[in-house]
């Protein structure tokens, strides 16, 4: 299980975890691949970026263009990926887990991704 947070300390810790994950899951660009399991390093990195103050730079350009302006998540938000919560089909994937925002009850959430130009970009984040 990985825990992703906007705090520096957590980022370092998560970086260690996702470095291990990266050995097992390297995103490809094939269109027919389908898999599930733990999030790859690139996916985890995208989640970290999404929860940071620069969260909008984690979004796909198409989504960023139409999503209303403003910060996406309050500082201190964390996302804990569920075991086996990563599902991928070709260049698209989603990750299930638990989102915790400061001052609010934790809730199950799902994050969508598209793999483009060597990195995973976020296509949605929603209450599951």
């Amino acid at each position: 299980m990985i825990v992703l947070t906007a705090s520096v300390a957590a980022v370092v810790a998560v970086g260690l975890v996702v470095a291990v994950l990266a050995v097992r899951h390297t995103p490809g660009t094939g269109t027919a691949a389908a898999s599930s399991g733990a999030a790859p390093a690139g996916g985890a990195a995208a989640v970290r970026l999404l929860l940071s103050a620069r969260g909008r730079s984690a979004l796909s350009p198409e989504l960023n263009a139409v999503l209303p302006a403003g910060q996406l998540f309050p500082q201190g938000t964390t996302f804990t990926a569920a075991p086996g919560g990563w599902h991928r089909a070709g260049a698209y994937a989603n990750l299930a887990g638990t989102l915790r925002e400061p001052g609010r009850a934790a809730h199950r959430a799902e994050i969508g991704f598209v793999y483009r130009h060597g990195r995973w970009l976020v296509t949605f984040e929603a209450v599951a």
């Binding site: 599930s36 969260g55 139409v66 089909a89 598209v114 296509t123 984040e125």
Partner: protein, 443 residues
């Protein structure tokens, strides 16, 4: 997606022959080949109704859309759109099936041309023009069937009712095609950027969903690589090259209208996506029979649409929505009334049922009404006793009407009813609304 096998077709054909020509039922059982003149083929099947002859009736043909089959019309259910149409006096209801070609474009010999042959046969045998009720691409298949050069069905369709037909193509399909191919989406309708964002979100959310059934938007993923996945793109050349509609053909468009929310944290895109695959503008682009009927629904979240229930406005759910069914049935009745000079009803009529009966149901429409009595002393179920109403409204025979279990669960207040004893009710015809259906009253 339900696709009927060969054995099923033989059985269905035998049932069809029994309905149309009871004397030949035994022959049909022994000889699976349909007899000439019935119009029944492996693709064209009658919906079990009240046993009317094709000759003199108004044929109503239901044609499905992409990645589907005639099973989508649920003909065995008395609550389905086709099941109810088959019970309209003066109507014979039919389904046309092209399940095995439903990922091919409408020019396929077993789609457009085969449908043209079916329409022409029904029109010839009934001596009436045919009403077509089309879902999705079925509307475009009809456009091709009645308009291609040399079509045997030219002039044989009296009215077309389309449900979610992409007259201008599907913007979402185009956006999804562009997303998976990494290309630009090209020209899209108003709100095109929202379609691109939704396409990517949908493709992401559908990852890991193994069964792409037509009960949620993920089924679109399964058609991307098919011929219709290209042909049904927004303003595609294939659509633009379809033959022109016959002048004066009444076409009633029915469309879904739902807003979908694609959120990220505290921000959300909310955009109107029609019935999701087909935008409102595309589904109502060819309406010549008055205002289109638009079924409006509450907004959906992306994950709600994918993992839960996309609701009655969703493309594949529209034909099963009770409001849509009521509109279609009203349009059929109106056409049939005009075509057959329907009988007029009295100002009011008595409704009586035996003392051991505890429930009465009335089906109202236009200028007429049907009544039935249900014995609820024993547990209600499909096939519960149905009692002949005798002769109402100038001799409408209700003998073949049987209750459907679901009607027993749709009680409503007996507004407009008048009763002078527990077993007698009457309803003034002035209270009959054009497409009001079952109204039941428990004693």
């Amino acid at each position: 997606m339900n696709r009927r096998g060969g054995a099923g077709r033989v059985a269905a054909a035998a049932v069809a022959l029994a309905l149309l020509c009871p004397a030949q039922a035994a022959l049909a059982a022994a000889t699976p080949t349909p007899t000439p003149g019935t119009c029944v083929t492996g693709q064209l099947q009658p919906v079990p109704g009240i046993g009317q002859k094709l000759a003199g009736s108004v044929p109503v043909v239901f044609i499905h859309g992409i990645n589907s089959s005639a099973a989508m019309w649920h003909v065995s259910s008395g609550l389905s759109i086709a099941g109810q149409a088959a019970l309209i006096k003066g109507v014979t209801a039919w389904t046309f099936d092209y399940a095995h070609q439903s990922l091919d474009w409408v020019k396929d010999q077993r789609i457009g041309p085969a449908f043209a042959a079916a329409i022409a046969c029904l029109a010839r045998a009934s001596r009436h023009k045919v009403i077509v009720v089309a879902h999705s691409m079925g509307g475009l298949a009809t456009q091709y069937a009645i308009g291609y050069p040399g079509s045997p069905a030219a002039g044989d369709v009296g009215e077309l009712i389309t449900i979610g037909t992409p007259y201008q193509g599907s913007a979402l399909l185009s956006a999804m095609q562009a997303a998976v191919s990494g290309s630009e989406a090209g020209s899209l309708p108003s709100g095109g950027a929202g379609y691109v964002a939704l396409a990517e979100a949908l493709l992401s959310a559908c990852a890991g969903i193994a069964t792409h059934t037509d009960s949620n938007p993920c089924w679109l993923v399964s058609v991307l690589r098919s011929p219709v996945g290209t042909a049904l793109q927004w303003q595609s050349p294939q659509i633009r090259q379809l033959p022109p509609w016959p002048p004066g053909l009444p076409v009633l468009d029915i469309a879904g209208d739902v807003r979908i929310q694609v959120p990220v944290g505290a921000r959300t895109i909310t955009q109107d996506f029609g019935d999701v695959p087909v935008s409102l503008g595309s589904a109502t682009a060819h309406d010549t029979a008055g205002p289109a009927y638009v079924r409006h629904c509450s907004p959906l979240t992306l994950l709600g649409a994918v993992h839960l229930d996309p609701g009655p406005c969703f493309h594949t759910h529209l034909p099963n929505d009770s409001d849509v069914i009521a509109v279609v049935l009203a349009a059929i009745r109106s056409y049939v009334k005009a075509a057959t000079s329907a009988q007029t009803s009295p100002e009011s009529f008595p409704i009586e049922y035996p003392q051991d009966m505890t429930l009465a149901c009335i089906q109202q429409y236009g200028q007429g009404a049907h009544a039935q009595w249900v014995n609820t002393i024993s547990p209600p179920s499909y096939g519960a006793q149905c009692f002949r109403a005798g002769s109402l409204l100038g001799g409408l025979d209700l003998d073949a009407w049987c209750p459907v279990e679901a009607t027993l669960h749709h009680f409503s207040s007996p507004a407009g009813w008048h009763s002078d004893n527990p077993y007698r009710y009457s309803l003034a015809t002035s209270t009959i609304k054009p497409w009001e259906t079952w109204r039941c009253y428990q004693n």
